[in-house]
Structure formats: C-alpha cells, structure tokens
Symmetry: D3
Subunit: 158 residues, 6 copies
C-alpha cells in the first residue's frame, strides 16, 4: 500500500529553520519560541498554518500563544525524539484518551512527514490492548475519515 | 549518554521464533498464539517471563491466557510497527492515561531493546502537552524509580 | 471590558427563597429539597428552568428528581462557598474532565451571576496545566460558541 | 411497561450453535473463534450483523477480526455470566466511562434479549453515584434516543 | 467452586426493614432516607457498618450523610434492579474506571449476598474488552487480595 | 427590571496597569519566566520551594524548567483570576480527575493563602455531583491527611 505527499517550499524553509542556531535556553525570548513553534507547525503541515490554532487567536490569545510557544516551540521541536516516533506516540496517546479529533490532526501530520497508513493502523490495533475496544474502534472511525478526506483532495492537505 | 543491555540465549531463540513460519491467520490455534506471545515476552524481557503475567495464572487463568495469546501473541508481535516505536507509543499512552505501573513495565522493555533513557524522557516531556503536568510528573517519578532499580541491579533486569 | 446582565423578578424571588428559613437538615422533606433545587436553578438561570433538566422529567423521573433535590437542592445551595467560586470551580473541573457540554451550561450560569468572560478564559488557560492542551482547546471552542450565542441573543439567555 | 422483540430464525440457529460442542480451548483455531463471535453477534442482535463491526472490515481487517474472535468469540460467549447480567454490566461501565455510543449499542442488545427499559434506567440512576451526574445525564439522553428509535421502527431492530 | 457467607440477625432485620412501608417519595424526610441507607449497608455488609463511610463522619459530615441518604438510601435501595445485578454492574464500572479500591468494597458486598468468585472473575475478563488489559489486570490484583483476605478470616467479613 | 453599571475608576486603573509596565510579553526571556515561577511557588508555599518540583531537577531538567517557567511563571501568575479562586478551581479539577496527590499539594497552597478548611470541604461535596462519590471520597481522605499533617506540625508548613 503506497501513499503520496508533497513537500512544499515552505516546509523545506521551515525544516532549515529548525536546524538553525539554538541560543542558550534561558536567554531565549518568547518571540523566538513563537517563531520556532510556527516553524514546527509548517514542517508538520506541509507549510500551512493549523486551522485549530488560528481560530483561537482572537478570543483566546494566551492559549494560542502558549500552544505555539510552549507546546510546539518548546516541546514538539526538541531533537531527542525523531518526528515519526513523536507523531506515532501522540496518536497512540490521543486514541487511548478518547481524544479522536486531536488524534486525527496528529495522524494527518504523521502522513505528511512520511508515516504510512499501515503504521497508523498498527497503533489503533495496539489501543485495543491499552484502552479497550471502544476507544480503538472510535479512533479507527476517525482515521477512516482522515484517509477518505485525503483521497478526495490529494495535495491540498492538510 | 550510553546504556547497556544483555541479549540472552533465550532472547535470541525467541527472536528466531518470531521470524519463523507464520501459518495462515485463521488456521492458527490458540496454542500457537500462546507460544508466539511467550516469545514476545522473552524477546522484550531479556529472556525472562513477566512477573505480572505469571502471578495471574492460578486465580485468573483466562486473563493470563488472553494477555499472552491476544495482547502479546496477536497484537504485540505484529510486524507492521518496529519494536522501538511500539514500546515508546505504549509508554506515551500509559503515561497520558495515568497508568504509571504499566508505563514502568513497558519502559523497562524499551530499555531492554535499546531505547535510551533520553528518548523515554522526551515522551514524558510530550505528555505535559497531551495530558497535563500532573500526569507527566507522576510518570517521571515512576521512570526515576525504574532507572534507579536498574542501576542498582544491572544485568539482573527486568 | 464591560458586560450587562438582567436580574428578573423571578431571580429575585428565588434569591429571597434561598435566604429563607432553613429547617433542621434531617427533618427536611424531599419536597422541600426539590423546592430549594428549583430556586437554585432559577437564581443561576435568570429565573428560567434548565432545558436539560426539563427534558429528563418524563422518561427518567428519578434522575430529574435527584438532580433537582440532591445536586441542586442539597449541594449547590450550600452557603459555605460563594456562587462565583462555585461556578468557576465547576467550569474548571468539567473542562479538565472533557465534559464540554456541561462546562458550557455552568459557564453560562457564571456569566448570568456576574462572572466575566475574562475570568472564564483564565480557567481555560489553567486547564492546559491541569489536563493538557487538547482538553483546554476543546473547552475554549465551547466557550467561544457560548459567547457567540449570547451576543446573538442578549437578554434572552440562558 | 411492556416491550416486544422478535426472535428470528437466525437468532435461534445462533443460540443453538453457542450451546454446541466446545473443543479444548488451546486447540481452537481462529476460524472457530470467529464463528463463535459471529454467533454471539447474531444472538444479541436479532440475527443480524452489527453495523459498526461490518464497517471496519475493509480498512481495519485486524480490528474487525479481533473484535469478532476475541471480544465476542472468546469473552462475550463465556458461560460463567448470564447474558442479561453481562449486558447490564457493560451498559453500566460504558455509561460511567462516558462512552455513550457504545452504551447505546449494548443497551439495544439488552432490550433484544429481554432486559426491560426500567432495568436500563436503574443502571443510569446508579451511574450518578459511580461517576457523577453529567455522565448519567449524557447516558440518559442516549437511552432516550434508543427508545425513540425502537418505537419508531419496531421489529426492524437492531 | 463453592463459597460461604453468614447472614447475621442484623442483616435479616435490615432486609425486613427494606421491605417495609415506603412513604410517598416527596414526603420522605432525610432522616427516613438515612435510615434506609443504613439498612442497605447492613444488608450488603453482613449486618456491619462500612468503615470507609464511618471514617468520614467526623470531618466530612455532609459527605457521610449524602453517601448514606442519597447514594445508599435513594439509589442503592431502589427495587427495579436485583441486588446481585446491581453489585456486578458496580464492580464492572469501577474496574473500567480504574477505581480498584471501590471495586474491592463492592466485590466484597457481592460475595456477601451470594455472588460467586467465578462471576466476579467473568466481569474482570469482560473489562479487557471495555477498558483494556491494564485496567482488568489491576482489578484482578485487587480481587485476588480480597479473596485472600476473606480466606484468612472467614465469617469475620466484611 | 434591568440595570446598568459603571466602569469604575478601579476598573480603568486596572486596565491601564495591565497595559502598563509589563515588558512586552514576546520580549520576555525564559530566565524572567523562571524567576516569576519561582516567585509564584514561594508566595503559595510560605516562602519555601516545592519538594515535588525540586526532585525533578536532576533527572528531568526540562520538566522542572517547564513546570517553573510555563505552568507557574506563565499561567499561575496571570492576574485575571484571584489566587483564592485559582487554587479552589485547581482543587476541584484535580479531585474530579482522581489526581489526589496533586489535589493535596494545591489544597495546602490554598490553606497557606487563607482559604478555610470549610471551603475546601465544600469543593469535595460538589465533586460528588461532578464526578461521583468515589472520587469525592478519595479526595476527602487526602484532605483529612493534609489537615492532620498541618495540625501535627503547625508553622512548619508547607
């Protein structure tokens, strides 16, 4: 079973940015952390911004800023875990927690960076053991939606 | 940052067994599935049985059998996901679910098969985003216990 | 940042009722507890009944009665915690538990009794720490819906 | 309060199958376990297949097979617990876990095998104590939907 | 596999009390509800009070009163569900929720009223499907403790 | 009957203060955020450091830093919610989530800043409605421990 994905110019630029100089952690400004978070989103999302994050900015500015600077900029960019493993671990955790919508977003990121549909299914199969059959079945339904959406509009992802 | 692990004769035998002939899935007997599950445990556990599983056998025989034949034999042995990713995904899910004892068991398996302490810490850091700081802190405490136990008795693991 | 709210005749009557005579707890009848629960709903809901509670009455009469007599009449009316703190604590707990629909109902009650939109947002920001970013983001989406509904039909709330 | 349900020819055939010869557990093949799981579904579902299970088959074949062979074939068919108690216990657990969709499926099975609407409501009332009022109220809403669907199309169930 | 349990004079008196006159629900006083809750405890607990409930009385009087009058007096005494099914459903829910301590209390009640160890084990086996293997294994460990405690001091239960 | 309210002098002064001296959020360094987090701990903890946080520093340096700079420095220090409400909301959420150890830490902070034991008990009583009786009872047991520890060593808190 094969799959296709596009690496846009923006994604490449973002990847280069992530490998750039890393100032001493405690001297970093929030502005730098925000920029790093933005680079993370674009590298996971084929160069595009993330709709859920964008929708928060006006009414919940601190939540948007914290998601971008802490969750993405500080945590998701850390080099000690490769992107593929990070995404699959997030998919497993979200599926086990019953957070199907967020699992679907991160499964999309996983496909964007080269993880296969088969590997995502293996995570779902494992969730039957970790958290029971209902959570795994709900997650499989969300993944089926994601696969169908991506087949319907290839290249337009995320 | 380095690590050590022993590959015993039993572990090697188990690994060979896993790569052996795979009869058509629907013709497999439960006995074959139990054997495959036993091989999975030994390959993750430096050739030794797993105490939690063994303690169940007398009073909860079906639970021990289902853990060995389904959870380990059918799911954990599936080839579509490499062992390292599988273990790290399980650690992430257990930590996010607040299941610290089971996270500790699977983190030990991860160390046995070559995952580094640093990679396990990265999973914990990610859990602050997935499930909040209390779940991540509780998981870090369980990991600290595990690292200390392994330092105290190297080679005697699991 | 400003806000407006209406205190209706019914809400004032309910407030007076809550401050009325409190018979010895163990001599209270269920009828009295039901009346107190009804007064609590009206004081939180601008004098109106609560749709979720009303919909239960026909098919699940004990559940409606228990919600009104125990949850509202016995617990929610207790004087040892001011209403504003009680509502904000309920919003925090529901958001952390992933119960967005019930969080939305109680956030509406909070706005009815004078809590500001800003204070509700602060609770959401705190949930990123307590239960992780997905729960906080889901809660922020429910709050955004609530704010929009109230802007669309001011004075007609809840 | 009464109710009606149809026992179809298929359901009777499935019930007979379940009482048939039980080969030694460890010599059973997966094919036999799959057949037993199919018999369980038909005996709970008035002789019909289960839509959720069927929808999984194409894209998540292992999940469909594991649900049918392990969850239904190995666990749900075990004779040590009568069907009525098994279904009511599942309804209680799903409602307490917040898994309303799966609770609705198993509540439907319960009605199919003769459990009354009143007994299902008693489980919901108990959930207020086990897991709080929001989980119980959400479950009551799902049960109300189920009762209405069955009144609208009697005999066509599940 | 057999079991023994004692029905004490107190338990019989409590059972008779439960079958006594039932005043119209809304005219009941809290005192009557407390008495009914006390009768429920004694009928489930071989005539003895429940330690967890007693320990709460001094520092958390409302919680003890609500547990006795609402949880036990209003809910647990309802006649629409037989005691055996009620206890097994509670055990299933607590095990699935990861509430092993409370599962252990209610499993003890189940044994006191004639449920077999085998039926309790069947509930645990079912939890592997509902909530995954870790929750089921943790619950099996709590049940093993309970069985051992009761073997060590037969007749002295709860 | 409606009413209007004035934007008081105090509200205007507060608004100006929020926009006043406060280095632009995006220019803050992580070092400044760490210092603010340390100030938050000491203000909640009678001037002392927090043991759980200190124990993390050596083995999980990023987790300790993130707890101090993000959870405490960015979130817990925000002025839009008073400290008393913030602590009581955290206690409610932790109790409802079953996180008794973290509930105990934040209940201790609440007592340190002047919240009464009675107010903490009111939160526990409310948890019976939000998340059920087991979670509330477990939380009451943790609070009883906390009260006893503080009585045994007054002034030596936290």
């Amino acid at each position: 079973m094969g799959f296709r994905f596009q690496i846009s110019h923006k994604a490449i630029a973002a990847a280069l940015m992530l490998c750039g100089t890393f100032t001493a952690a405690i001297a970093q400004t929030t502005e730098e952390r925000l920029q790093r978070g933005d680079a993370v989103v674009r590298s996971l999302n084929n160069g595009s911004p993330q709709p859920t994050l964008e929708r928060m900015r006006q009414e919940f500015p601190f939540l948007a800023s914290a998601t971008q600077s802490y969750a993405l900029g500080d945590v998701w960019s850390r080099p000690g875990l490769d992107n593929r493993t990070r995404q699959l671990a997030a998919v497993a955790a979200f599926a086990a927690m019953g957070e199907a919508a967020f699992m679907k977003i991160h499964a999309g990121y996983a496909l964007n960076i080269g993880v296969s549909e088969g590997e995502l299914k293996e995570i779902i199969y494992m969730v039957t053991v970790l958290a029971g059959f209902p959570r795994a079945i709900t997650a499989s339904q969300a993944l089926s939606e994601l696969f169908a959406e991506r087949r319907a509009a290839p290249g337009k992802q995320p």
